[in-house]
């Protein structure tokens, strides 16, 4: 979900680039603001994914069947999507 949101945000930036010269005035969303939007949406997606993983991890920890380290690692895995989303901030001029 986060990935989908992320690519959606990037598409929006790409669309603006092609559309901007035709219209008069600037783009509807400034470049930086679009990247921020993308990152924010990606973070929401990651949070949603972590909700379920976190719940499972707490369950498994309560039964003593995994170590806390593994639990934390699994919980923050979707966080990598937010890091990918940061790419939107740095690419392009």
């Amino acid at each position: 979900m986060a990935l989908a949101l992320n690519s959606f945000a990037e598409n929006a930036v790409a669309l603006q680039e092609t559309a901007a010269p035709a219209g008069n005035g600037g783009p509807m969303i400034e470049r930086g603001a679009a990247a921020a939007l993308g990152i924010g949406l990606a973070a929401i997606g990651a949070g949603y994914a972590e909700r379920a993983i976190g719940a499972s991890v707490v369950g498994a920890l309560a039964e003593d069947s995994i170590s806390p380290g593994i639990g934390i690692l699994l919980t923050v895995l979707p966080e990598t999507l937010v890091i990918f989303a940061l790419v939107a901030l740095f690419v392009g001029p």
Binding site: S56, V57, G59
Partner: protein
């Protein structure tokens, strides 16, 4: 019905971990060679430790094992209800009410035979929806009428009230017990509808299978015993295998009954081996075990297909019940001196 979001992730993680900690085939093989006191000792080293220790001073031998198993079962299923929320709770409690039925039957029988409340209490499996306070009140009352009064507002009330007149006329407990069963099974599928696909549909299919197998079991028993009982009195509505007229027609003809089960698309393949055995040998027990194993295997498959539905919980509930039944069978078997092969026949192992 409870509202709010359900939390299958949390419950399933806990349930799966408990499922993994259950006894393996190896353990059963070891247990078969032990006597009752050795089994109790063995259980003390597994997750039954707490129950064995709590009951160890009061009971011994097979009784100790039996009560410890019941308590452990109740503990696990109570936990399930405690963890789950929202729709998930609703689904689980629907199924676990079968222990309410068991408890109510035990209580009614206990009152009928004027048993000591203490004695009734040890035979209960406090796993269902009724809370401890209600059950304690039920144990203490003196008449069946009071039981029905206390149950007012539960799903059992209406059916029990109807059955009470029949009970007063005949003086037999059968109408009351049938009413309890019926209230449970009719409530099982109520307001679930008939979804076509996804985990919902499989959940309904599973419950239907449960009802079908119960009907099949009753029908086979009736056909086998040849007793002149009205099959309709034992028929539970909601399955897909029989309707009421099928049942009335087939109970008279044993072979036709077996054929009817074999021809069913949903179960025919899955039970083919067991059905063959049922035709050749006269082993009804083997067939019933095959039904149990088929249901268990089915629940296991579902829990891999739909990991975030109620399926893993169902699979755990069934597996736990099997485990308890198996240990009980071994302990009772050893007590009466069955040999190892005979006991192994009694076990349901996947």
């Amino acid at each position: 019905m409870s509202t709010g979001a359900s939390n299958p992730e949390y419950v399933n993680a806990r349930v799966r971990s408990r499922r993994a900690a259950m006894l393996s085939d190896e353990d059963y093989r070891k247990l078969i060679r032990m006597g009752p006191s050795e089994i109790a000792r063995f259980m003390e080293e597994t997750e039954y430790e707490q129950e064995i220790n709590a009951l160890g001073t009061r009971f011994s031998g097979v009784d100790l094992i039996e009560y410890a198993l019941n308590r452990n079962l109740a503990k696990h299923f109570d936990d399930l209800l405690e963890w789950s929320e929202g729709q998930l709770y609703d689904r689980i409690v629907r199924y676990l009410r079968k222990f309410d039925v068991w408890n109510l039957k035990t209580i009614v029988r206990g009152i009928y035979t004027d048993s000591d409340p203490e004695e009734i209490s040890t035979d209960l499996i406090r796993a269902g929806e009724l809370d401890d306070g209600t059950i304690d009140r039920l144990i203490e009352v003196d008449s069946i009428e009071d039981v029905i009064e206390i149950l007012d507002g539960t799903i059992f009330a209406e059916q029990l009230e109807d059955a009470y007149e029949a009970f007063e006329e005949s003086g037999a407990l059968v109408p009351l017990e049938n009413a309890l069963d019926r209230a449970f099974y009719e409530n099982l599928l109520e307001d679930l509808g008939r979804p076509r696909e996804g985990p919902e549909a499989k959940y309904v299919e599973f419950l239907e299978a449960e009802i079908d197998f119960l009907n099949a079991r009753n029908a086979l028993r009736l056909a086998r015993s040849g007793a002149d009982l009205d099959p309709a009195a034992y028929y539970i509505d909601g399955g897909v295998l029989f309707d009421e007229s099928d049942l009335n027609r087939l109970v008279g003809d044993y072979d036709a009954l077996v054929d009817h089960i074999a021809e069913n698309k949903r179960y025919g393949d899955r039970l083919s081996e067991a059905l063959d055995r049922l035709r050749d040998a006269d082993s009804l027990i083997q067939f019933e075990h095959a039904l149990d194993a088929a249901l268990l295997e089915y629940a296991d498959t579902l829990s891999s297909v739909y990991p975030t539905s109620i399926s893993p919980v169902l699979s755990f509930v069934l597996a736990k019940e099997r485990e308890v039944e198996n240990i009980r069978a071994i302990a009772r078997g050893r007590e009466v001196g069955l040999d190892e092969n005979e006991i192994e026949e009694e076990l349901v192992i996947l």
